[in-house]
Structure formats: C-alpha cells, structure tokens
C-alpha cells in the first residue's frame, strides 16, 4: 500500500509537469485548430533558459536562497520563452492562418526542428547536469515525499488557480473563449483576434517555461533533445483529456503521469512509454473525443 501511494505521488509530480505543457497545446488547438508541434521544444528552451539563469546566479552571488533562485529562474524563463513563442507565432503561424489545414502543422514541425537544433548548435549536444537544488526528503508513514515534489505540485496548483482566474474571470479570458467558439464573430464584435491569439501563445509558453524550470529542478539535467518526449506525452495528455478543454488537459496530464509511474513500478520500466501510448490509442478508439472533449459535430 505504501509502495502504491509512493507511486501515486511520483505520478502526481510527473503529471503536473505534463499538465502544464498540455495546457499550451490545448489552448492553441482550441483557438486556431492547430497542433503546435514546437511546443515541446518551447518547453526545452524554457529548461535551458532556467539552467543558464541558475548558472549566472551561482557565478554572481556566493549564495542565493533556493526559493529566490527558483523564483528568478521561473520569471526570467517565462519572459524569454514567451518572447520566443510570440515571435514564432508572428513569423511562422500567422501568415498561414486561413490557409489549408496541413500548412501550419508543417511550419510547426519545422520550428520544432529549428528550435532543438538551434539549442544544439549554440549550447552543444551534451547533457547539462546541475548540482541538486533541493534535496530535503520527508517521511510520512513510510512514504517518502521529497521537497522537490511538493514544490512541483504546489507551484502547479498555484499556477492553475491563477490561470483559471484569468480564463474565467477577466475580459482577456472572455475574449479568448469568444475566439475559441467563433473567431469571425468575435472579430465582428470588436475582439482583437490577433492580439488574443498572441496572448494565448504567450500564456502557453509561460506555463511551458515553468514546466521546464520544474523539470530542470526535478531531474537536475537537461539536453537539447529533451523537448520531444515530454512534448509528445503532453500532447497525448491533451488529446486524452479532450483537446480544446483546459481542465481536460490537466486531467489528461495527471492520467499519463499515473499510468507511467504505476506501469514502471509494477510491470516494466522499458515499456512505460509504450503503455502510455497504447492507453491513448485505446481511449481514443472507444471515446474518440477524449475524456472531457466535446464531440465534434460536423455541419454540412
């Protein structure tokens, strides 16, 4: 039982990171109907930015409180990665809006290749390990919970509350939901669609940047190709939860996290990704629009 709870806690940690990335996928899909393949690499750029900020802090100051360092890493990473996603949306996706369905998908795949190879060229192809930032571990009734895991879950929960408030209670969120339902109508009613879409990309990137920072803190290592696997899993999570649905993305992220940690604990660690992908396929076959997704009704 303790072993099982331990796995649930690991899964919760992992699922929080996937959930944060998945929100970016699902928001972009909801508003412009496009799979943003570069989002996983945006997450990786976030982790790298956090890494460099960490090294700068280490080089400039003798010692920085861990909480402050983590906060600075997150904020810098959020700002810079938002800038990246904003620029990418402007040069690669906006000219193709209204074009045929596969065109933005191909530019997104192109951007994903560009981002990962850009980081490889500028920062080198090797693993970048950092010394552990937080190493405290609590023991609760035989279940060990590390401070890292607590930080990840708390930060994610906090961000989700803020994010929920922005989407549901502010005029920005209202504009966004309007664009999601009917872009043309929203434009006619005076919503600045371009600006709303840009802000959607910025919000998605900020959440991915936080996920990247937490990923770096949790694993203590990052490499240029790290965008792909978490990206695909987060996208899987978004589809599993019902793409376009924001609570669905979080739910899907948690589901993928639980599946992965429980599978690797009880069955085989080699096949944990196979398990995640197979469950995705099975869920989609029996529930083609995901857990919380609206069924797609095609009007003729």
């Amino acid at each position: 039982m303790q072993y099982f709870i331990q796995q649930l806690i690991n899964g919760l940690t992992l699922g929080s990171i996937y959930g944060l990335i998945a929100i970016g996928y699902t928001m972009v899909y909801g508003i412009i109907g496009m799979i943003n393949f570069a989002h996983g690499d945006i997450f990786m750029v976030g982790a790298f930015t956090a890494l460099i900020v960490f090294l700068i802090l280490g080089a400039m100051f003798y010692s920085v409180p861990v909480a402050a360092a983590l906060l600075i890493m997150m904020i810098v990473s959020m700002l810079l990665v938002s800038l990246y996603n904003w620029v990418i949306e402007k040069i690669a996706y906006r000219p193709l809006r209204g074009s045929f369905r596969l065109a933005p998908l191909i530019t997104a795949i192109g951007m994903s290749i560009v981002l990962s190879n850009f980081v490889q060229v500028t920062q080198g192809p090797r693993n970048k390990p950092i010394p552990p930032m937080v190493s405290k571990v609590y023991n609760v009734y035989g279940v060990s919970i590390s401070l890292k895991q607590i930080i990840i879950v708390v930060v994610t929960a906090l961000l989700l509350v803020i994010f929920w408030y922005v989407v549901n209670k502010t005029s920005l969120g209202r504009a966004q939901r309007a664009c999601e339902q009917d872009r043309k109508m929203a434009a006619l009613l005076g919503v600045n669609v371009d600006r709303t879409i840009s802000i959607t990309f910025i919000i998605g990137a900020s959440l991915a940047a936080v996920a990247g920072t937490l990923f770096l803190m949790y694993y203590g290592v990052v490499v240029f190709s790290d965008g792909f696997v978490p990206g695909v899993k987060a996208f899987t999570a978004a589809v599993l939860g019902g793409i376009g649905s924001i609570p669905g993305a979080v739910l899907g992220g948690l589901a993928i996290g639980f599946i992965e940690s429980i599978w690797s604990a009880y069955f085989s660690i080699d096949y944990k990704d196979v398990a995640a992908f197979s469950i995705l396929a099975i869920v989609l076959i029996f529930m083609p629009s995901g857990i919380l997704g609206r069924p797609e009704v095609e009007k003729v």
Binding site: Y29, I35, V45, L51, I52, V53, L55, I56, A59, V76, L80, L83, Y84, V87, I91, A92, L96, S99, F100, L102, A103, L105, I106, T107, I109, G110, M111, S112, I113, V114, N117, F118, V119, Q120, V121, T122, G124, K128, P129, P131, F228, V232, F235, T236, V239, I243, D270, Y271, D273, V274, F277, S278, L280, A281, L284, I285, P288, S289, E296, E298
Partner: protein, 521 residues
C-alpha cells in the same frame, strides 16, 4: 515636381519606418538570444558547468536580425507590392522579376564567368590562396547554377510538358554521367549519398502520398512501416539467409499487414486525433524494437545483413564464385554494387509512381480522392469508407515496407536510431512541400530538401570563410527546419499546388489547390 517630392518623402518615410522596425527587431533579437547565444554552457575539468560569454557572436546575431528586418521593410515589401501594381501610364504590370533576372545579357555574363572559372578556376584558386579561393569556388558554383536555372527557366514549358520522360531519362543516365566525370571511385559519393539517398526519400514520400495526398489521412507514424520492412528483411535475411528477391514482397506484405492492423482501430478517428494515434503507433514500434532485445538486438541493431544479388546470377560479395568482376572479367570495385543499388531503387520508385498513377484512375483511387475532399458526401454516395481507408493504409505501408527492405540491404545494418519521429516528419514535410498528390512536385521537393542538406556536407569552402572549427553538417537540420518554414510561408500549397483531375470531358484542366476544400479526414 510635386510628384517627385512626394515620392522622396514617401521614400524617407519608408526608411524611417525601416529603421524603427530594425530597432525593434534588434531589441527582440537581443532579448531572445542574450542567454542562449550570448552565453555558452561548458564543462570545466571538475565536470561542473561554467558559462563562457560570447559577446561578439551575440552582437553579430543582433545586427543580422536588424539588417534583415530593415531590408525587408525598405526593399522587399515595396518590391513585392510593386510587382502586383499596374503602372498608371501604360496600364500594364511590370515585367516579371524572373524575366528580368533571367535575361539574355545576364546569361552571357553567367556563361563567361562559369566557363572562365571552369577552365582557370583551379589555377586562380592556387594563386590567391585558400581564403579567397573559397570565394572563387562559391562564385563558380553560383555561375553554374545560374546557367542551369536559366536553361530550365527558358525551356519551362517544354519541361512541363515532358516532365516524366525527361526526369526519368536524367535519372537513368545520372550514374553513367557521374562515373564518366569522376571515375568509379569518385562517383561513389554522388551515386550513393545523393542519388540513392534522394530516391529513397522519393519512394517513401510517394508511398506516404497515397495515404496523405490521395486519401487525405494525416499519418505521422509512416516511419513505422519503413521500420517493419527493414527489420523483416534484416531478421529473415540474417536468420534464414533468404534472398532479397524473396524477402522484398515478404517485407511489403508484412508492412501492408501492419498498415491494416494499425489502420483498423483508427478508422473512426479523424484529423488530428488520427495524427496523434499514428504518431503514437510509430513510437510504439520504435520502442518495441529498442526493448525487445531477444529478437531485435535492442538499440545495438542488426548488422551483417546480406547484400542484394542480381537475381542470384551475379553476386556482389567479393568471396563468391559468381562475383561480378569474375563473371564479367572487369576490375574489382565497390562502385558496381552502389550503381546496381541505384538502379534498383530507381526501379522501385518507378513502380511506386506507376502504381500511384494507375490507381488514381481505378475506382479505389477515385474513392480516395473523394474521401479526401469530403467524407460525408463520400458516405452519402455509398462509398465504403472502411475499405477505402484500409486500402490506402495498406498500399501506402506496402511501399514503405519495400523502401525499408531496400534501406536494410543498402546499409547492411539497421538500428532503431534510423526510425525516429524526425524521419516521419521529414517524409511528411516532403509530401506537403511538394504539393499533396503531385508526384513530380514531391520528387522535386525530395531532391531539394534532402539533396540540399546533403550538399552542405560538401561545402568545405565554408570552413575557409568561417574558420576551421566551422562544421557545416551541424547546421544541416537547422537549415532544413528553416527551409520547411520558409517554403511553407511562401507557398502554403507546396511547389505544385494545382490539382489534376483524372476524369475529364474534353481536356484536362488543372485546378488551383486553393479552390479545393479539404474535409477533416
């Protein structure tokens, strides 16, 4: 007078706008690159990460961003607008840029430069030393490319009318030309790295074209079938010693079977759900290949895969009694095998293309295209969408399997490394960049994208310009990704964006792709 002044003030206004935009671009570029380009993470002797500042590189990148943005705002955008604006006094559009660029005087200059540098280039390079010699080489390459492009431009209607026979002839004589130019040993690189490599991608892209281009089913895991074909040949060939000619159809059948197995559960899915499930299947196959070590030897891969023989009559193994040089009485060389493989993959490509062209005229091919355009209308007209989709998956996968077994035979070694998602993405990119459904466009896209990145390896003169530690290969995929974005933004429908009907009343009329509306299949 007044007009000239307004023009002048408009010009200075453009320049002011250009400077402002350039400033914004510089600021944005500075913030984007200050950490990732301005600082490099390196490991010191204690294996700790340290930061190495690179202020000059950062400054260069920022300046480049500003200059590019300035040129775009001040010259490129007004130029593109002017190309579409009718001249007020003559009432005509300005002469097309291509006509002005490919003018006869320019051709003469190009010919003179190309011929002069072909004759005296080497001695000139020797005279001016390696640094300027690199520029001489660049100029020579540019002049030759210009002359070839000029010829293509002026004979474009002829080429367009005879594209298939011309392309096939060029491909047929390509190895002969390369051998006569560079000799057997020197031609290896051109036949193997360029010819075979490009043709493999042409074949894969034509196979995927059946699924994506004709049937409109977005498949992001096509590389799985390539892997199935490669591993079928690798395993059966090494375990049982069966010949390539028996295993080629076996590999194709296996891949087609997997196409049906993977296609069956996803029949109900559409659009992006289909994309993610096919991506997941591609990853599952790769992960199984990595982890099922007892059979596939895991990440280490399978080596010692037997070579292809010429239907058992002529072998390409030096130790065999019927080795080619013993049979034909010629000198030993590894080039024969590569040339043979070149013609083999060419034949496979021709088979793929021929089958695609013929299938488009059969009921099943028309059903695919109908399915792509509108699935609901398709169902209403009584087309069985299940079998239509499954045949598309199966036939597309079969060609992937053929290409896979060829790949295994060519490399002599397969490992899961070769079947990553990036390969699927590259193949899909070639299909979309070429123009979905158009065989010629896809072949051109494969040649440009794969050949273009391969040619970067050859650009050793860049080392002379950028310094000895500059490795052009590193930038290969970076430029590939950038090219994908640029081509797509420039031509969202791909190189050949028109649709050719298979059934027509009097004459065949191509329709611009933007007039067709694709469903969400």
């Amino acid at each position: 007078m007044a007009m000239a002044e307004t023009k002048k003030s408009a010009g200075s206004a453009t320049i002011a706008a250009g400077l402002r935009e350039a400033f914004y671009a510089a600021v944005i570029a500075f913030f984007m690159f200050v950490l990732l380009v301005g600082l490099k993470t390196d490991q010191n002797i204690h294996n700790e990460l340290v930061l190495v500042p690179r202020p000059y590189l950062l400054a260069t990148v920022v300046v480049i961003a500003a200059v590019v943005r300035f040129l775009q705002v001040v010259y490129l955008t007004p130029f593109l607008v002017a190309q579409k604006t009718v001249n007020a006094s003559t009432g005509q559009l300005p002469t097309a840029f291509a006509l002005r660029f490919f003018s006869k005087p320019n051709l003469v200059i190009g010919l003179v430069v190309a011929a002069g540098l072909l004759l005296f280039g080497n001695s000139l390079q020797a005279a001016v030393g390696p640094y300027w010699g690199a520029y001489v080489g660049l100029l020579r390459a540019a002049a030759i490319i210009y002359v070839v492009a000029w010829a293509i431009f002026y004979f474009r209607s002829f080429i367009g009318a005879h594209s298939y026979s011309l392309g096939f002839t060029i491909l047929l004589i390509y190895p002969v030309v390369m051998v006569s130019l560079f000799g057997f040993q020197g031609s290896l690189k051109w036949v193997d790295n360029f010819g075979i490599q490009i043709l493999i991608y042409v074949m894969l892209a034509w196979g995927l074209n059946i699924v994506v281009g004709l049937a409109g089913l977005l498949d992001l895991g096509y590389v799985a079938f390539y892997a199935v074909g490669a591993y079928s040949y690798a395993l059966l060939g090494t375990q049982f010693g069966w010949s390539f000619w028996i295993l080629l159809p076996v590999a194709g059948t296996m891949a087609a079977m997997w196409g049906v197995i993977l296609g069956f559960p996803v029949l109900r899915l559409r659009g992006d759900y289909l994309a993610i499930v096919t991506l997941a299947f591609g990853e599952i196959i790769r992960l199984v290949l990595i982890n099922w070590r007892e059979v596939t030897n895991g990440a280490a891969g399978i080596s010692g895969i037997p070579k292809v023989s010429f239907f058992g009559v002529i072998s390409f193994n030096v130790s065999d009694p019927n080795y080619i040089s013993k049979v034909l009485g010629i000198a030993q060389s590894g080039a024969y095998y590569k040339i043979f493989l070149y013609y083999l993959i060419l034949a496979l490509c021709v088979l793929t293309g021929y089958v695609t062209i013929r299938l488009r005229r059969l009921p099943v091919g028309r059903a695919w295209e109908a399915l792509r355009e509108d699935e609901i209308a398709c169902r209403s007209l009584g087309i069985n969408t299940t079998t239509t989709k499954l045949t598309a998956f199966a036939i597309g996968a079969m060609f992937g399997g053929f290409a896979g077994s060829f790949f295994a035979a060519r490399q002599g070694f397969v490992s899961p490394e070769s079947f990553i998602f990036l390969e699927s993405a590259i193949i899909l990119a070639i299909v979309v960049l070429g123009g979905m459904g158009s065989l010629g466009g896809i072949a051109v896209a494969a040649a440009v994208m794969v050949g273009g990145t391969e040619i970067l390896r050859e650009m050793q003169f860049l080392k002379q310009i950028f310094g000895a530690d500059f490795t052009p290969e590193l930038y290969r995929m970076l430029l590939f990704g950038a090219a994908m974005v640029i081509v797509m933004v420039w031509k969202p429908r791909g190189f050949v964006g028109s649709r050719e009907p298979t059934a027509f009343l009097k004459e065949r009329k191509a329709v611009a792709g933007s007039f067709t509306k694709e469903g969400h299949g």
